[in-house]
């Protein structure tokens, strides 16, 4: 278990303020989804948390400043599934997952039996056991996403950060990956922080939604409070209807603009 506290976070790219005094809290064991239109600062905020962009303000995991933690220590506490992972096509799934053990291996060392055991379990858990020797370049999108997840899980970190983990997948594989994250979170007591685009899925999986727009936090709360027609119209500039989901929660339905001369719905 692991908690995140960010206060007054500011990230600049040159003169442009990309993240503008944002607060973010993720309680231990919670699943928080970051929402927001393209360019809202979601990915940047996640990169600030993982120490990959310089940021002002407080950025803490379990009360410790992430910038003060040695990089290996940070990698043992926080595992990142990047938005567009770099995929070395000739690397085997096994070798790729073993990269996740890097924070536990000395700078000049190689994997020991313990590392192989951890990765073996992770690959089995993600149904990748039979893919272990396959080259990453031969995997389908869904398989590849599980391989990336396997590498993150091999880090054995209590906090899992996902940057749009499903944006490249079809609806079946989106659900598969998100269900998997939900199960893993339960099994391993993970805290999950994810940036997502699909509002309906975000509402179904997250405990809490945090909406960013133009670098600022503009809404924060359970799905019922954040996913309203007024909020989405204002910050996404999108015409949507919010309908009750038959199984609970809400469905966000985008609707095209009525063309002049045709009868509206």
């Amino acid at each position: 278990m692991s908690s995140v506290t960010a206060k007054d976070v500011v990230v600049r790219y040159g003169p442009t303020v990309v993240v503008d005094h944002v607060d973010l809290e993720v309680a231990s064991g919670e699943w928080v989804v970051l929402l927001g239109p393209n360019g809202a600062g979601k990915s940047t905020l996640l990169k600030a948390l993982s120490g990959n962009v310089p940021a002002e303000g407080a950025l803490e995991i379990d009360g410790q400043d992430v910038r003060a933690l040695p990089s290996r220590e940070l990698a043992r506490r926080l595992a990142v599934v990047p938005q567009n992972p770099v995929v070395p096509p000739g690397m085997s799934v096994l070798d790729y997952a073993l990269l996740g053990r890097t924070p536990y291996i000395g700078p000049f060392g190689v994997e020991g039996p313990r590392d192989l055991q951890v990765v073996d379990e992770v690959l089995e858990r993600l149904d990748l056991g039979f893919f272990a020797e396959r080259a990453l370049g031969t995997l389908s999108g869904g398989e590849l996403q599980r391989a990336v997840l396997a590498r993150a899980l091999a880090q054995d970190a209590p906090l899992l950060v996902l940057d749009e983990p499903t944006s490249a997948l079809d609806v079946g594989h989106q659900l598969q990956v998100l269900d998997l994250v939900a199960e893993l979170r339960r099994e391993r007591d993970l805290t999950v922080l994810a940036a997502m685009h699909d509002l309906t899925l975000a509402g179904q999986y997250a405990d809490r939604l945090t909406l960013l727009a133009c670098g600022q936090r503009v809404a924060n709360g359970p799905a019922a409070e954040v996913l309203t027609e007024a909020v989405i119209s204002r910050f996404y500039g999108a015409r949507v209807r919010i309908l009750p989901h038959p199984d609970g929660g809400v469905v966000v339905v985008p609707g095209r603009r009525a063309e002049p001369g045709t009868p509206g719905p």
Binding site: S50, V87, P103
Partner: protein, 364 residues
């Protein structure tokens, strides 16, 4: 979807019962090492036996046995012939092996830190710096200073070139980027080459000497060059081989490598420094021998695997064998004349590489 979910957990079918192979991380296969070492041994043996002076195979064999402790046989070689073997041929073979090994492993290391398959050991201004140093030494140093100052000047120039590139690459941007470094290398190389060309044009009488040096040569007399290169070669190889796993981690890019806890800036600095030091030392004793640093690591990649745990050790052995073989051709094909070794590495290396590319199905 159904296809990839078949081996799901909780379904103890016959598939699930099947014994899974024991997981093992990528590692260099002992048989591959054995094959490479045997190949190197063969080339070294032939390289020692064959040369412009016909010493006789059996006599050379007996003479070499003499070097073993406690062995004393009459080799049948005269004093002059023994000197050819010990002071010309053998040091040349050893020097070729060292230079080849260093250039190949440095090339592999550069390709790893820059994640660029076209990176070669001369990328960051090493070649241009060495060329300028050698030219200045030939033009101004030969008369003023005692002894052969070309190697020392080339070495200093090579280090200066890399130093300038690295300083410029860091000064230009706060962002820690490998691309910036490559661009800085392009600028530094152009600048140093401009100076070199100018000095050369002002002193056309030394053009030939300078070009002979630039084309590369393993001509030796005695063990001096081997002794000079050996410590740098050892440092370079050890430092780069120590980073074999971290170079694999860098394959996912700097940003992801950092989230895995790697201090990428430091790794890059150490690996580049090691590769540049070795390359500078190699260049100073042999001139600019092209192609080894690109062709050998890629041939290893295609034949044996893409992990740096495989590429690095096999590049050392393969580079050594490749250059000793190339030098063997350089001094025998047009005997008694010698071809520049850089011509041989490209002329025979390129077709060899084309064959490897065609026959390999490893890269997807």
């Amino acid at each position: 979807m159904t296809r990839q979910r078949r081996p799901a957990a909780g379904a103890p079918t016959s598939v699930g019962v099947q014994a899974r192979p024991v997981l093992r991380a990528s590692t260099v296969h002992p048989r591959a090492v054995l094959a490479a070492v045997v190949g190197l041994g063969l080339v070294v043996t032939v390289g020692t036996l064959v040369g412009a002076a016909d010493l006789g195979t059996a006599a050379v064999g007996r003479e070499l046995m003499n070097a073993l402790p406690g062995v004393s046989v009459e080799s049948g070689l005269g004093e002059r012939q023994a000197a050819i073997l010990w002071q010309l041929r053998l040091p040349r073979v050893v020097l070729g092996a060292l230079v080849g090994g260093v250039l190949a492993v440095s090339g592999a290391a550069y390709q790893g830190v820059f994640r660029n398959p076209l990176a070669d050991p001369y990328l960051l201004g090493v070649a241009a710096g060495a060329g300028l140093g050698a030219t200045l030494a030939v033009v101004y140093g030969a008369h003023a200073l005692p002894g052969n100052v070309v190697p020392a000047a080339a070495f200093a120039g090579a280090l200066l070139g890399v130093g300038l590139t690295y300083t410029l690459g860091r000064a230009v941007t706060g962002v820690r980027s490998a691309t910036t470094l490559i661009l800085a290398g392009v600028a530094v190389a152009a600048f140093l080459t401009a100076i070199q060309t100018y000095v050369q044009q002002q002193n056309t009488d030394v053009l030939r000497t300078v070009w002979t040096w630039i084309l590369g040569s393993l001509t030796t007399s005695g063990w001096g060059q081997v002794r000079m290169l050996l410590p740098y070669a050892a440092i370079t190889m050890v430092l780069i081989l120590l980073h074999r796993r971290l170079l694999d981690v860098l394959a996912v890019g700097e940003e992801e490598a950092r989230t895995l806890g790697v201090r990428t800036g430091r790794v890059r600095l150490i690996v580049i420094a090691a590769a540049s030091l070795g390359t500078a030392a190699a260049v100073s004793v042999s001139g600019l021998i092209g192609f080894v640093g690109i062709i050998v690591p890629h041939a290893v990649r295609l034949m044996a695997g893409t992990s740096y745990r495989i590429i690095l050790p096999l590049s050392v052995v393969g580079g050594a064998g490749f250059l000793v073989g190339a030098d063997l051709l350089a001094r025998t094909v047009a005997s008694p004349a010698e071809l520049p070794i850089g011509v041989v590495t490209a002329f025979f290396g390129a077709p060899f590489f084309a064959v490897v590319l065609r026959t390999s199905r490893r890269l997807s």
